[in-house]
Symmetry: C2
Subunit: 245 residues, 2 copies
């Protein structure tokens, strides 16, 4: 409390805090915001992301984010394109190897969808209308793959396999989210859900067997993998019939 300084012009504690903070972080940038948003979404799910919490994690106020991002929806759009960069699509050297290549591209999509389960929620609300660069190159590579494979209507083939992959991945991700929200492990969650499911299935003869599968409890991950591969094989078989010659 030195009485001689000019108190109004430069209040000491403020200056103190400022000089430490500014060189600390690389300030606020669009890229950093999106990166941290993805991290929060992955960690705590979609409903845990709020502008205030995100700002707090970046040592910033909530409203500061709006200097770099127009709206929260735009931020989600950027987040989607951010994770879209993870999906790898192999280039096709041998035309006969298209099945393996498409399988890899599909599995890659599913893998990122399961790594970032919030993606399904966003896709359900906004679809694939996004035009982010990473999504564009993903589409481009898919198109290149299917044309190289020799499909007469590549876009039709792409839509078909993408629809299957999105549908399956979305369903899986939603289930995993539900399980995660319960705080329990998947096996115990299933066990706790079992009685309700069996009661709901009462009177439906064809459904009775669906909820007594022990594999769902012993190794649900492997069961999901197998289910995905089965359906994908079906789709690819159907597509193969449309290859000329």
């Amino acid at each position: 409390m030195p009485p001689k300084a000019k108190p109004a012009a430069t209040p000491l504690p403020s200056v103190w805090a400022r000089e430490q903070r500014t060189p600390d972080q690389p300030a606020l940038s669009r890229a950093a915001i999106v990166r941290e948003a993805v991290a929060m979404l992955d960690a705590d799910g979609i409903e845990a992301l709020s502008m205030r919490k995100l700002g707090a994690r970046l040592n910033a106020g909530a409203t500061s984010l709006y200097r770099h991002v127009a709206t929260k929806d735009e931020l989600m759009e950027l987040a989607v394109d951010e994770v879209a960069a993870e999906i790898r699509v192999p280039e096709l050297q041998d035309g006969a190897a298209w099945r393996a290549a498409v399988t890899e591209a599909a599995a890659g999509f599913r893998a990122t969808a399961l790594r970032h389960p919030w993606l399904s929620s966003v896709l359900g609300q906004a679809g694939l209308a996004y035009l982010g660069p990473n999504l564009m190159t993903y589409s481009e590579r898919l198109a290149a793959l299917f044309t190289a494979a020799g499909f007469p209507e590549p876009s039709r083939a792409i839509d078909t396999v993408l629809s299957y992959v999105i549908g399956m991945s979305t369903t899986e991700a939603a289930w995993l989210t539900t399980v995660a929200r319960s705080g329990e492990t998947e096996a115990t969650f299933i066990a706790r859900l079992m009685p309700a499911a069996q009661q709901a299935a009462a009177g439906h003869e064809h459904l009775a067997g669906s909820y007594t599968d022990a594999a769902a409890i012993t190794d649900p991950v492997a069961l999901r993998d197998e289910k995905f591969r089965y359906g994908l094989a079906v789709v690819l078989d159907g597509l193969a019939l449309r290859l000329p010659k």
Copy 2:
């Protein structure tokens, strides 16, 4: 203002309003709430539904709804099951006609998904884990259909075609929602989006053609129908290979 009545026990305006209101509506009931919620969702989209607005439309306060519904999530669950009642699955008389029957069941799902675009948002967040009675009978009938068709693994076949249908319908519904939110007709929305899309596709040789399809503007509905039928045919062809004999 008659001074002789007992004013505290029966204040006039209150009695007036009450006697009119009580026989007016069948009061508040779970069924009425769900019905009105679906109506609001259909009319104004998912983000327009709030407990307060829903209460207002039922001549009720917002918190009154909680006497009949535990939480908003539960209300959405009920709404999903409500619209699930619309989907019809034909019974299979002749085993050879399974293709037409499955096609009808798939088209029915898609039709309700497009009639209630908010469904896609909910599915993206919660999946098919719901156990409502209507969803159960839908599953049951699907199972009956695929078993009657002679599939060795009916549940695998169901998961495959359902994944495709969900993926395609979700994508379509999300697109329609985006268009609707713009307030424009689909054709003008596409026209307005075109330059951005073409700029985003710049440098991607295989994508250049995707955004110059005139059919998307002249008759987008027919184009979507055809796209859906194409993919479904692919999936059914793949499944047919797995039928014994």
